[in-house]
C-alpha cells in the first residue's frame, strides 16, 4: 500500500546516501571497528546510539542539527585515536562534501595540539589554502602513483610557500611528485587515445608500454655488464666488411663480427693483471687494473635479466589478477553491464555516440542470448552445433599442422638451394624463411576470422577467446619448430663454425621481418581498407582496431627477443627501437583510420589475459629454451665466451670449484650449490608446498562463497519480515482507530 511504501522510502537504508548524519555515523562505526582491530583501549559507550535511527531523520529541524554536531564530535574523537595515516585514509574515503571534510579536519587539528594550531589555523579564504587542503585530503594515503595529476601542476604556481617548516617539507615533496608525474612519457597521447576510443584500446597501448619497460631493463643490464666492457676491450677482430644497406635486414655481412652477436665476446678474463706485468714485477701501474671475467659476466647477466623480467611479470600478473578476480561473481552480468558500462574517460561527441550505440548493441545481444538460452535446444540442434564446433577446431588444428610442415620442408629446400649459389644470393635467401613465417602469421588470423563467421558461437566473448587461442597455438607451434631446428642444427646453420652467431642472426632477421610485416599489415589492413570502404563502397564505417591480433603480434615479437638474448645481447635494444616506432605508427594509424571495436571488451579482464599469455606460453617457453641451451647444448669450439667448454653450465661449475679452492672459507657456497641447485629434492618440496597453498586458498574461497549465499538468503528473509511488520502495524493502527 502507499503508506507502506512511504514508510519504506524513509527507512535508514534508503536515505543513508543523502543524510550527512547517517554517513558520519556509518564512518564512526567503521573507524571504531578499525580502532578495535588495532587493539587500543575501548572508548566508553555513548548513551546516544551511533547507528541511525528512525527518529533522527530531518536535517532541517533544529534538534537534528544538534545531533549532527554530536555525531561529528564523536567521529572526531574516534579519528583522533587512530594513527595519522589511517586517519587521513579514513577522511579520504568518507563520501562527504569538501566543506564537511574541512570542518572535520580543522576539528582534528584543533584537538590534536595547540602548538601546531598556528600553522594550520590560518583560516585561509584564498583558493590557495582550500586547494592545499584539498590536495592533502584527496591525495594522502594513496601513494604517489595515482594523484589528480593536472591539478597540482596547475595549482602550484598560485600557491606561495607561506607555511613554516613541517608544512614546508611536505610542500617540497608534493612539488617533486608533481614534476615526476608531469614527466611521464606519452601522457597526453594516451589521454587522447582513451578520449576517443575508450579503455579497451588504451589497454593495448599500456601493454606496449609495459613491454617497452621490460626491454629497457634487460637492455640496461646487458649494456652495463657485458656490452660496454667488451666494447672497451675489443678482441682481435677480422677485417671489417663494407657496410651495405642489406645488413639492416639480414644482420649478416659487416654486422657478423660486431657487438651484436655472441661470437664477438671473448672467453678470457679481460684486463687480467697476470698478462700485464712485463718483467714479472709486481709494482702496481698508475691505473689500477680490475680483472673482469667475461664468460661469467655474460651468463650471469643473461640469467639476472631473465630473473628480473620474471619477477616483474609475476608481480604485474598478481596485481592485475587481484584487480579482476572476485569471489562469487559468476552471476550478475546484466546489472554490472548497466551500472559499470559507461566509460567516463570518453569525451569526444562522436565517440560518445559510438559508445552509446555499442552499449545498446551489447545489451540487445545479451538479452537475445538469454532468451535463446532459456529456450532449450532440441537434441538434433545440439548435435549439429557440437559437430560444427568439432569440425571447426579440427580444421584449424590441421591448418596449424599444415603450416608447420610447410615451414619445415621450406627451410630444408632453402638450405639445399643456398649450398650452390653466390654470396649475394645467399644473403638474400636468408631472408626468405622469416618472410614466409611472418606471412603465415599475418594471413592465418584472417582465415580464422572467416572460420569463426561460419561457426556461430554462443556469445561474442567466447568468439574472442577462441580466436586468441587458435592464433596463439599457431604462433607457439611454429616457434617450437624453429627452436628445435636451431638447436639441432641439422638444417639451419649446419655449415657454420660459429653456430650461435648464426642463430642470433636468424633471430634478428625474424624480429626485423616481424616489424616490416606489422607495418605492411597496418598499412593495408587499416589505411587501404579505409580508403576502399570510403571511396569504393561508400560506407561510413571505418575498419575496427583488432585488439587481440595486435596484442598477439606484440607477444610474438617479445618471445623472439627473449629467445635471442643469449645469442644476440643487443636484441633488446633492437626490440626497444621497434616498440618505440610501433607506438607512434599505430597511434597515427588509429587516429586516422580506425573506429573503436564494437565487440564487448572488459578492459581489466583483457589486460589480465594479456599479461598471463605473456608470462605463460611466451616467457616460460623462452626460459625453458634458455635453460636447455645452458644446460645441455655444447657451445661452438672457435668463437664466443664459452669456447671449448662442454656446456655453458660447466663453466659456472668450474668457477665455483676455483672459488672454493682459492678461499676455503666459502665452502658453504659450494654446499649450497651442490645440495640446493643440483638436488631434485628441493624442487619436489617446493612444488608440494605450492600445491598445499593452492588447495588451502581454494577451500577458503569455497567457504566464502557458501557464506555469501547464506547471508543473501538472510537479507531476503529480513526484507520480507520488514514488509510484514509494517503491514501488521498498519492493520493494528487502523483497527485501533476504529
Amino acid at each position: 500500500s502507499s503508506a507502506t511504501l512511504r514508510i519504506l522510502a524513509s527507512m535508514p537504508s534508503r536515505t543513508i546516501g543523502r543524510s550527512r548524519g547517517a554517513i558520519i555515523s556509518q564512518y564512526y562505526n567503521r573507524t571504531a571497528r578499525l580502532r578495535r582491530r588495532s587493539s587500543h583501549p575501548p572508548l566508553q559507550q555513548l548513551c546516544r546510539a551511533a547507528r541511525p535511527s528512525l527518529r533522527q531523520y530531518d536535517l532541517e529541524t533544529d534538534p537534528a542539527r544538534a545531533t549532527l554536531e554530536d555525531k561529528r564530535s564523536v567521529l572526531v574523537k574516534e579519528l583522533l585515536s587512530l594513527s595519522p595515516s589511517q586517519c587521513s585514509h579514513m577522511l579520504l574515503t568518507v563520501p562527504l562534501s569538501l566543506a564537511e571534510k574541512r570542518t572535520l579536519r580543522q576539528e582534528l587539528s584543533r584537538q590534536r595540539g595547540p602548538p601546531r594550531q598556528q600553522a594550520q589555523h590560518q583560516a585561509p579564504s584564498s583558493p590557495c589554502g582550500w586547494s592545499k587542503d584539498y590536495i592533502i585530503l584527496v591525495s594522502l594515503g594513496r601513494g604517489s602513483a595515482q594523484q589528480p595529476r593536472g591539478l597540482w601542476y596547475r595549482l602550484w604556481p598560485r600557491c606561495s610557500p607561506q607555511a613554516p617548516s613541517p608544512q614546508g617539507c611536505r610542500d617540497l615533496w608534493y612539488r617533486l611528485l608533481s614534476l615526476l608525474l608531469a614527466a611521464q612519457p606519452w601522457h597526453y597521447a594516451l589521454k587522447q587515445i582513451s578520449g576517443r576510443f575508450g579503455s579497451s584500446v588504451l589497454s593495448y597501448f599500456l601493454f606496449l608500454k609495459t613491454l617497452l619497460m621490460f626491454n629497457i631493463i634487460s637492455f640496461l643490464i646487458l649494456l652495463i655488464f657485458v656490452v660496454a666492457l667488451q666494447a672497451a676491450y675489443p678482441p682481435a677482430s677480422v677485417s671489417p666488411q663494407p657496410f651495405t644497406g642489406l645488413e639492416l635486414l639480414t644482420g649478416a655481412g659487416c654486422f657478423t663480427h660486431s657487438l651484436l652477436y655472441y661470437g664477438y665476446y671473448s672467453n678470457v678474463t679481460l684486463n687480467d693483471p697476470c698478462t700485464f706485468s712485463p718483467n714479472g714485477s709486481v709494482f702496481p701501474l698508475t691505473a689500477p687494473l680490475l680483472p673482469y671475467n667475461m664468460p661469467l659476466a655474460y651468463v650471469f647477466s643473461v640469467g639476472v635479466s631473465f630473473l628480473v623480467t620474471c619477477a616483474l611479470l609475476v608481480y604485474s600478473m598478481s596485481q592485475s589478477f587481484g584487480e579482476s578476480y572476485r569471489v562469487g561473481s559468476s552471476v550478475g552480468d546484466l546489472a554490472i553491464k548497466v551500472f559499470c558500462a559507461w566509460d567516463f574517460k570518453v569525451i569526444q561527441k562522436r565517440s560518445v555516440k559510438l559508445q552509446c550505440e555499442n552499449i545498446c548493441t551489447q545489451l540487445k545481444e545479451l538479452l537475445a542470448e538469454q532468451r535463446s538460452r532459456s529456450r532449450s535446444l532440441s537434441l538434433c540442434q545440439r548435435l549439429k552445433h557440437t559437430s560444427v564446433l568439432f569440425l571447426a577446431w579440427a580444421l584449424s588444428l590441421s591448418m596449424v599442422l599444415g603450416c608447420v610442415l610447410a615451414v619445415h620442408y621450406f627451410s630444408e629446400h632453402m638450405h639445399a638451394v643456398t649450398r650452390d649459389s653466390g654470396r649475394w644470393q645467399q644473403e638474400a635467401i636468408l631472408l626468405v624463411l622469416p618472410l614466409m613465417v611472418s606471412l603465415l602469421n599475418v594471413l592465418m588470423p584472417h582465415l580464422y576470422n572467416f572460420l569463426a563467421m561460419w561457426e556461430k558461437h554462443d556469445s561474442p566473448v567466447a568468439e574472442v577467446y577462441v580466436a586468441i587461442c587458435r592464433n596463439l597455438i599457431l604462433k607457439m607451434v611454429v616457434l617450437g619448430l624453429l627452436c628445435y631446428q636451431w638447436l639441432s642444427r641439422r638444417v639451419i646453420c649446419s655449415t657454420e663454425e660459429c653456430w650461435e652467431t648464426c642463430v642470433g642472426q636468424d633471430l634478428y632477421r625474424f624480429v626485423v621481418m616481424d616489424f616490416v610485416f606489422t607495418l605492411l599489415d597496418t598499412l593495408f589492413g587499416e589505411l587501404v581498407w579505409r580508403l576502399i570502404l570510403e571511396k569504393r563502397l561508400k560506407r561510413k564505417q571505418r575498419p575496427e582496431f583488432d585488439i587481440a591480433r595486435n596484442v598477439l603480434e606484440l607477444i610474438y615479437g617479445q618471445t623472439l627477443t627473449w629467445l635471442g638474448i643469449l645469442f644476440a645481447p643487443l636484441l633488446p635494444a633492437v626490440q626497444t627501437l621497434k616498440l618505440l616506432l610501433l607506438f607512434y605508427i599505430k597511434k597515427t594509424s588509429l587516429m586516422q583510420n580506425c573506429q573503436s571495436p564494437s565487440k564487448p571488451w572488459q578492459a581489466s579482464h583483457m589486460s589480465t589475459i594479456f599479461i598471463t599469455l605473456l608470462c605463460f606460453p611466451s616467457f616460460l617457453g623462452a626460459a625453458v629454451f634458455l635453460s636447455y641451451t645452458i644446460w645441455s647444448v655444447q657451445p661452438s669450439e672457435t668463437c664466443g665466451p664459452f669456447q671449448g667448454v662442454e656446456t655453458i653450465y660447466m663453466s659456472g661449475k668450474t668457477w665455483v670449484r676455483v672459488l672454493e679452492k682459492s678461499n676455503p672459507n666459502i665452502t658453504w657456497l659450494t654446499w649450497v650449490h651442490h645440495h640446493l641447485l643440483e638436488n631434485t629434492f628441493l624442487l619436489f618440496f617446493v612444488s608440494g608446498v605450492l600445491l598445499a597453498v593452492i588447495y588451502f586458498n581454494i577451500q577458503v574461497v569455497r567457504g566464502q562463497r557458501r557464506i555469501i549465499h547464506l547471508l543473501k538468503e538472510q537479507i531476503a528473509n529480513e526484507g520480507e519480515d520488514k514488509k510484514f511488520l509494517i503491514q501488521k502495524l498498519h492493520s493494528v493502527y487502523e483497527q485501533r482507530e476504529r
Partner: protein, 161 residues
C-alpha cells in the same frame, strides 16, 4: 582546477572566484561534461545551491573533480554514482530510475533505444541479480555490492585529467 574554474567565469568576476557561483550553462561547456549523457544529473548532485538552479561554487567544482579523479576510492565513487543514477532523488533506484538510466546509456536516437519488451526483460534481470532484500528497488548497499564486483568501475568511472 582554480584556473579552469576562473576561465569559465566572465572577466569582471574573476578575482572573486571563490565566492561566486557558476551558472549551469557555463559548467556544461567543460569538455568532459559536454557530451556526457549524465551531465544534468552531475550538476544537480554536486551543486549545493539553495535556489535549485544547479549552479556550482568553487567548492562544488572541487568536489566534483575529486570524486571523478583517478585517486578517489571506489567507496566514494560508488556513493556518488548512486546519487547520479537516482534520477528522482528518493534514495533508491526504482524501476523508473533504471529505465531512465538505460535510456541515457543507449543514447537519444530512435534506433538505439531498447523496445519495451526488451526494457522489461532487462529491468527484471537487473532486479533479480542485484535486489537482495527483494523489495523491488536497489538501495545504496546493494548498488555498492554489485559495483564492487566489477573491476572496471574504478577505471572507467574517472575523468582523466
Amino acid at each position: 582546477a582554480y584556473k579552469r574554474f576562473s576561465e569559465l567565469l566572465p572577466k569582471e568576476e574573476r578575482e572573486n572566484a571563490c565566492s561566486v557561483r557558476l551558472p549551469k550553462s557555463q559548467i556544461l561547456t567543460l569538455p568532459e561534461l559536454r557530451a556526457n549523457p549524465f551531465r544534468h544529473r552531475i550538476c544537480q548532485v554536486f551543486s549545493t545551491s539553495e535556489y535549485g538552479d544547479d549552479s556550482m561554487s568553487f567548492e562544488d567544482f572541487l568536489d566534483m573533480l575529486s570524486v571523478f579523479s583517478d585517486s578517489a576510492t571506489s567507496d566514494v565513487k560508488s556513493h556518488y554514482a548512486f546519487r547520479i543514477f537516482d534520477f528522482d532523488d528518493d534514495g533508491t533506484l526504482s524501476r523508473k530510475d533504471l529505465e531512465k538510466l538505460v535510456n541515457c546509456l543507449t543514447g537519444q536516437g530512435e534506433e538505439s533505444q531498447l523496445s519495451n519488451a526488451e526494457m522489461e526483460q532487462l529491468i527484471q534481470n537487473i532486479l533479480e541479480e542485484s535486489d537482495i532484500d527483494k523489495d523491488g528497488t536497489i538501495n545504496l548497499s546493494e548498488f555498492q555490492h554489485i559495483v564492487s564486483r566489477s573491476p572496471d568501475f574504478a577505471r572507467c568511472g574517472g575523468l582523466q585529467r
